[in-house]
Subunit: 107 residues, 2 copies
Amino acid sequence: MTDNPSYKDRKVITIGVVSELTGLTERQIRYYEERKLIFPERSPKGNRKYSFMDVEQLIDIANKREEGVQTYEIRQEMLKKRRKEERKKRRELLRGEINARFGIQKD
Amino acid sequence: MTDNPSYKDRKVITIGVVSELTGLTERQIRYYEERKLIFPERSPKGNRKYSFMDVEQLIDIANKREEGVQTYEIRQEMLKKRRKEERKKRRELLRGEINARFGIQKD
DNA sequence: CGTGTAAGGAATTCTGACACG
DNA sequence: CGTGTAAGGAATTCTGACACG
């Protein structure tokens, strides 16, 4: 349905590689974390680990920043989008339950 | 058909992370490269980079090694499988060409 | 053959801070 | 606010080699 084994979400990429992949400096990447735009995991000894999703997210952020959008705005948009998706998911879950009880039907 | 953006094949994972992911020591991982079982890329400054495919490959290798299979044998199996897949791909390409010229037909 | 280890050096990453604007 | 930079330390990675079996 979504992806296979979720390679896209495994947090395995170090900040140096993310920097190459995104064209952002490590400084920028760390700062966007400070501003809660990105949430890497940490290795046992404290090194940041990113997923491909994070890389894509950072590229989006970089584009918005180029347009002059401030990190605060970007965060607001992110939160809005997240809430929207949660509502969508909830509706889908509900629909699934209804179908399970009353049978599948086209509408 | 295959995967989306080929996250699975992007070589972005450092050897330390691969070690965690596979349970192999870095020594083992480097040795399997020496034996031509695995082919990481290198960062500009020479650090090895692996893909998720490589990680899976390494897990397969680890399993075979536990069964006592030698790296040489593993390499032979790999080469055999690779040739097999190339033949398959060639057949499919050919079939595609034939269909393109003489029309699609069920058999 | 396959793996461990100590060795030395180079590159990576981390944090907290000062700077500029 | 967003980013650069120098600072110092800790962790990572690399290679070539010796060891054992």
